[in-house]
Amino acid sequence: MDLKLEHHTTDGIEVVDVEGEIDVYTAPRLRELLIDLVNNGHYQLVVNMEKVEFLDSTGLGVLVGGLKRVRAHDGSLDLVCTQERILKIFRITGLTKVFGIHDSVDEAIAARKSEK
């Protein structure tokens, strides 16, 4: 399955809904979207990965790149993911310590709001 990307603003936080496969072929599209959002002043991001069917290291690299960009503006990039097969990749690479990973978009937004 190809990659579908949508985004909307909730409570001042930009939520990116990702659906499909994030791999070496599709990851550049996610990278472009994250760069566009940051360039347009969105520094509080939540990437909803609940409908992601496949994620490889190229996708991980894009997410880390996005995190670096928002942190340069004192921003944040949180993830929503409950799928064990996706979470496993974050654990293997040690990235569970780097990203805030939440069970729902509402939880991610609430966690971010509580830190403000």
Binding site: V24, F54, L60, G61, R71, R85, I89, I92, T93, V98
Partner: protein
């Protein structure tokens, strides 16, 4: 002889095809359903890495993948050609230390090898001519596996 051999033009779009074929052959070879996701991801990582090397050094040369469903192991060998691919990142994958912001400094290629090392039951990296082979295997062994 491998159960299935394939070569593909080193383009990112074909990595998905390689993943799908590898997963299908693994299933037919008797690899447990619970391990198929690991096969899919590890083969994808190895092929992505090979595509990257080929695009830099030899874009006209195909990437080679051999899938073998033996009696007790399902084995995948992804072979790339390309000068200067010494696989040095293989020895540096274990600890992608944080940078000043607490973010990992590993490049995606290094992350890829870290993922392979974490997923495959057995991994060997070896030089083959001017390239590199990544050999991975998982337990299989269904009595009715198609070879």
């Amino acid at each position: 002889m491998a159960t299935v051999e394939m070569t593909f033009t080193p383009l990112p779009a074909h990595v998905r095809t390689a993943r799908l074929v590898a997963t299908a052959v693994a299933r037919r070879s008797g690899v447990a359903e619970a391990l198929l996701d690991e096969v899919r991801l590890a083969v994808g990582e190895a092929c992505s890495r090979a595509v990257e090397v080929h695009q830099e050094h030899c874009p006209a040369e195909p990437v080679r993948v051999a899938l073998t469903g033996a009696e007790k192991r399902f084995e995948v060998v992804v072979t790339n050609t390309g000068a200067n691919d010494d696989g040095m990142e293989w020895s540096a994958i274990s600890d992608p230390g944080p940078d000043g912001q607490g973010l990992p400094t590993a490049l995606p290629g290094e992350l890829g090898l870290a993922v392979i090392a974490g997923l495959a039951d057995d991994v060997q990296v070896s030089r083959t001519g001017d390239g590199l082979s990544i050999r991975m295997s998982w337990p299989s062994g269904a009595a009715d596996a198609v070879r």
